[in-house]
Symmetry: C2
Subunit: 438 residues, 2 copies
């Protein structure tokens, strides 16, 4: 059968991996696709020592690929927003299918891109944009298609998980492990995207759209990083039976959808709590299937390439017919209409449990006052640890609460921080059960 | 768009769940499929109190569904071999697509069924046949399609995992927990299929075909159950840092494919070791993606229905075109030719590590003789525990070996069992690393 001709734009980590996987496993891939998938052209800024480009047409102009009439599918593995957006829209306008690994592009410009692709009747596939090599988009979009999805929660940033894993196993401070991760190449020189949760929020935005059939709304995601998680919080959480993970969480409630990325205490026996280092995992709860979980490499050259090539296989099978997109880009038709209109809730309306750490003057009545403030906001306490202190010193108080609305917790914290006997700000970390045994 | 009309054959646990999920989530499913999926007819022997059949056409003859011109897809959820085989072949001959949850049918009669379906140009889908609601067939067949699969290992029988979980957590005997599982409905009155590994071997056979592109060869799978695992083995494994799980394992080696179901010691920190109760999980190693894992409910009414309906969604999308099978039934074209010809290795040619438990007379020289026998077979010892014994009593010796070929272990065990100072048969349980952190 006629081969599928691919143009790869970018020959960095992911582009190089894609080139090598397509080359090395060409026979196996052809047996799966029912036709060969061949690399017609590669656009690159500089050579990649991992890749042998002998006999491959190259260019340093990515737009040449988007306009090349010999190319069926453009693979966008550049990263960033602006050039990729223009490149992908140009490829679509030229009738090319597109496979991208670019989570920022899809989360921020996806609605526009899918509209353009729909009008041109081309496929835009993006499995590699979320959790690298884990086929979670396919699982959520197709494998769990029978289900009303109740929640999605995942470790979807490997850098953050690497840092939290080592903070926990070695009792070290955030800055210390971050510096090590940077030295090892697991964290960027500017780690903001990863440790402040922006990267995870991009991925969560995409997962939520596919889970619930709503438009991409990255601007409404709540994003809180892990840079303020301390070694003491990690230790206290452990004492209480919890592990701190940086999770992207999206839940369906009657009022709307929660969409939030933040450090989270989860019971340490959860599979998610036992996902270590740079690995990723996503737990998904469906009304029929119950809890499921997907685990694997969330980044890296060939793991991400695995997802890019899986998308190429889907494209290869689909364009064997005149059927130009098999599954809606975001899993559902009618997004933004009727049932696709569930609003994203503001953060103050989410409901969750909390871990609180306060520093108090060790004086009678302080604890009673804290408990009263919480109680007045309708918040009940599940556990409390007060360390012994030397007379007159500040003593840490650790609290676990039952679930409450975030706005009530905000008010309680405001009042607690205004107490004369409380020093400094209250540390607040959200707590989730995410039971995968149900 | 024109609805897809489904006929459900069987209204037991899975059929009832399929009926209810299709009914309850009809709107969401239609938004995903791009068209409604409607239940046109149900064939049943007796009513299911969970299902409201008001307004549904029913019959007690499943073959009526297979010949009904108003039906596009037949859902086979009867179980067993003979009637389902005839039913599915009749449906195919009548141009119907088929969705089945029947692992025995696919593992034993799949090659014949796929050939008939290929000739008729119809789809046969069977996601529900392996690991219930976990979309592992789709993940392996499509999501990991870029990879050369190196191994697959899974907890793919919930009954067996329930029994081993409780043997471990409560130190109880196999028979005791089995009786409890039967009382709770987690095990059949005749538990042979589950506890002797036949059910797991059916599922493993299917996974291996999809992983490596070889024909279904259930008759070549090695099957060993968990009925001889003792509370003492569970405890000794735990002392050595291992958990015993009943795994289906298939590995690609240079000589061929391993295909085996047996109790297995795995390091207790593995995610697979932390899959409890009736849950299932499958770890899959690909050359590009590295290790991945898929977790969820492996059985039950609505979890299995989730997979049946996911297949119906695939069928609904595919038959919107004239493209009558999107992915080869077993993932690859050319099965049984060239690269699809990898042989299944006989058990004596597999390579693995071992846990051995012997009962020896506590006399000088016994251990030295055992070590010599192992050494003469090229087997090296990784760990050894010898319990203290009262003079003249039998003492248990626990050994962990490094990897060796099974035939060498068979010979070593034969020689050890023939020693005068060794009482009774040697207990042998295979040990696998299955590292998901690689």
């Amino acid at each position: 059968m006629k081969p599928v001709r691919v143009g790869i734009c970018g020959l960095g980590t992911v582009g190089g991996g894609t080139f090598n996987v397509l080359t090395r496993n060409a026979d196996e891939i052809a047996r799966r696709a029912g036709r060969p998938i061949i690399i017609e052209q590669v656009a690159l800024r500089s050579t990649n020592p991992e890749c042998d480009l002998t006999g491959i047409k190259t260019t340093n102009d990515v737009f040449e690929v988007a306009r090349n009439p010999d190319i069926d599918v453009l693979v966008e593995v550049l990263g960033g927003y602006d050039v990729p957006r223009e490149l992908v829209l140009t490829a679509i306008a030229n009738g090319k299918h597109v496979v991208t690994a670019n989570k920022a592009l899809i989360a921020v410009h996806g609605n526009e891109i899918f509209q353009a692709a729909h009008e041109q009747g081309v496929i835009v596939a993006f499995e590699a944009a979320v959790a690298g090599g884990i086929p979670v988009i396919k699982s959520l979009r197709e494998g769990l298609g029978a289900n009303r999805i109740e929640w999605v929660a995942g470790i979807i940033n490997g850098t953050g998980n690497y840092i939290l894993t080592h903070m926990r196993s070695e009792g070290r401070a955030f800055e210390d492990v971050l510096a090590e991760a940077q030295a090892l190449g697991y964290a960027e020189a500017d780690p903001t995207f990863d440790v402040e949760g922006i990267d995870a929020a991009h991925k969560l935005t995409i997962l939520a759209s596919i889970a619930y059939g709503v438009p991409l709304q990255f601007e409404k995601a709540y994003t809180e990083g892990i840079s303020r998680v301390t070694a003491e919080d990690v230790e206290q959480a452990d004492n209480l039976g919890y592990t701190i993970k940086h999770l992207g969480i999206s839940k369906r409630t009657e009022a709307g959808l929660e969409l939030r990325v933040h450090p989270t205490l989860i019971p340490k026996e959860r599979l998610l709590a036992n996902v270590h280092g740079v690995k990723n995992a996503i737990a998904i709860m469906g009304d029929a299937v119950g809890p499921t979980l997907y685990y694997g490499a969330g980044a890296g050259s060939e793991p991400t390439a695995s997802a890019v090539v899986a998308d190429l296989l889907d494209v290869a099978r689909d364009i064997a017919t005149d059927h130009h997109y098999r599954v809606p880009y975001l899993a559902f038709s009618g997004i933004g209409e009727d049932e696709g209109n569930l609003p994203i809730l503001p953060m103050e309306d989410i409901v969750t449990a909390y871990y609180l750490r306060l520093l108090a003057v060790d004086r009678p009545g302080v604890l009673a006052r804290v408990a009263t403030i919480l109680s007045e906001q309708g918040i009940s306490i599940e556990a409390l640890i007060q360390k012994e202190a030397t007379e007159g010193e500040l003593v840490p108080i650790i609290l676990l609460t039952h679930s409450c609305r975030e706005k009530h917790m905000n008010e309680a914290i405001r009042q607690i921080e205004s107490m004369a006997d409380i020093a400094g700000p209250v540390t607040r970390i959200r707590v989730e059960s995410l039971d995968e045994q149900e």
